[in-house]
């Protein structure tokens, strides 16, 4: 299960597991992102290539508009996934 909440300052918080079964329900939230923002992953426990794909598509759309996602507080396993995918060069990761 994946929960997505957006705070008043625009920060997107992900909580739970971002697997292939969650992409359909998560897509509207990311399609609605129009400006640079932080994605807080401190409560994200898991991600697969399906979740990466949605983040990547969002990032590509934002970069085309001169904006981008910043990913924060990735756990070590998710950070390793981003590194192996080469996404540490696609996203600003703090």
């Amino acid at each position: 299960m994946l929960e997505i909440t957006t705070s008043e300052d625009g920060t997107i918080r992900l909580r739970g597991r971002f697997d292939a079964s969650q992409v359909k329900s998560a897509t509207p939230a990311f399609d609605g992102v129009r400006d640079s923002c932080t994605v807080d992953c401190s409560e994200l426990s898991y991600i697969s290539s399906a979740g990466l794909g949605l983040l990547f598509a969002t990032q590509r759309r934002l970069i085309d508009a001169g904006k981008g996602l910043r990913l924060a507080n990735l756990n070590p396993h998710i950070r390793e996934v981003f590194r192996i995918a080469g996404f540490d060069r696609v996203f600003e990761i703090t």
């Binding site: 597991r17 697969s48 794909g53 590509r60 396993h77 996934v81 192996i84 995918a85």
Partner: protein, 139 residues
Amino acid sequence: MVGSATVSREFDKSFGALVEIFSFLDEVLPGSALDDRGRFVLHLAVEELFTNMVKYNSGASRRVELRIAVEKDRVRVDLVDPDTDPFDPTQLPPVDTSAPIAERKRGGLGLHLIRSMADGLDYTYRDREMTVSVTQHLE
């Protein structure tokens, strides 16, 4: 569970089965001998291999069997599709993860992650039955 025990279960070939599959993995994978990373890698590998079967495998079978074998020093998870055309995930070309964002191509990332993170990935095919196996060493 440690000591060559094998447990199997069948799942519908649909994305909706993932919740049951993750529960099955948590139920069967050894608690103390498999560290958090090993557990993460097996969840990731099984999801990537299973969803590939959902998306791409042909044939009449609507079920995929998962077999989890806990051996002395490793865990092996077999995903078995009893009726499909051959597709060997161990023979795919590498993904160019250094390409600029505008030039990156879709596809292959899940298998790239498995091949980079899991301790082993094997494939067998006989009489239209495909078995893909992922292994992870125990501490």
